[in-house]
């Protein structure tokens, strides 16, 4: 019963490096989301997708890119890592709008 799986769990990057955070779900959910969580700030939506081939910006999309080629996968790309992107990143999925979101356990990313 995997649900939403995120890899890696931890990563340290140098400024200017790039990386992809992986997210996959096995619940056949159409909707997928990427959030970042910073202390005292709650969860901020970076990007979301309502189905394969469809993505849209959330509240804080700058510095990130996404793609959705399959229902299961929704990777998040950081092209030029900056210290401001140090955060915990959560991927979530839901069957449709207005339905509960299921979260992965997060990727803890530090950029030095």
């Amino acid at each position: 019963n995997a649900g939403v799986t995120q890899t890696p769990k931890f990563r340290i990057l140098k400024i200017g490096q790039s990386m992809t955070l992986q997210c996959t779900q096995d619940m056949n959910h159409n909707y997928m989301y990427w959030y970042r969580q910073d202390p005292g700030m709650g969860l901020k939506l970076i990007y979301y997708s309502v189905g394969a081939g469809i993505t849209d910006k959330g509240e804080v999309p700058n510095g990130y890119n996404v793609s959705r080629s399959t229902t299961e996968d929704f990777p998040l790309r950081l092209e030029l890592a900056a210290p401001s992107q140090t955060s915990v990143y959560f991927c979530a999925s839901s069957p449709r709008a207005g339905q509960p979101q299921h979260f992965g356990d997060g990727t803890r990313l530090s950029i030095l």
Partner: protein, 112 residues
């Protein structure tokens, strides 16, 4: 601009006591109000949710109270236990939108 305002930021309750966390919103288009529970190192998990057609929803020791006219909703944890110690997030989603808006979180500590 914080779409959902949550208070308090932290809460300490004695075992057996009642924990109360409050949230307020402005957007009258919101029609789904979930609460999430997050333990350290884990992603948020849905605890209980309510829609504005009811004023209260109870699941075990957890109750959501909803005041549509005041645009406020709250989580009550009855007979609080040390195992309830976690961070709690309220959230809101509009009926026609695809995004969830989260509060900034409340760190609950239940002392034995």
């Amino acid at each position: 601009q914080q779409q959902v305002k949550q208070s308090p930021q932290s809460l300490i309750v004695q075992k057996g006591g009642i924990s109360i966390i409050n949230c307020a919103y402005e957007n009258t288009a919101f029609d789904y109000f979930p609460w999430y529970q997050q333990f350290p190192g884990k992603g948020p998990a849905l605890l209980i949710a309510i829609r504005p057609d009811v004023s209260e929803k109870k699941e075990g020791r957890f109750t959501i109270s909803f005041n549509k006219s005041a645009k406020q909703f709250s989580l009550h944890i009855m007979d609080s236990q040390p195992g309830d110690s976690a961070t709690y997030f309220c959230a809101a989603s509009p009926v026609t939108g695809n995004q969830f808006y989260f509060g900034t979180g409340t760190s609950l500590t239940v002392i034995p």
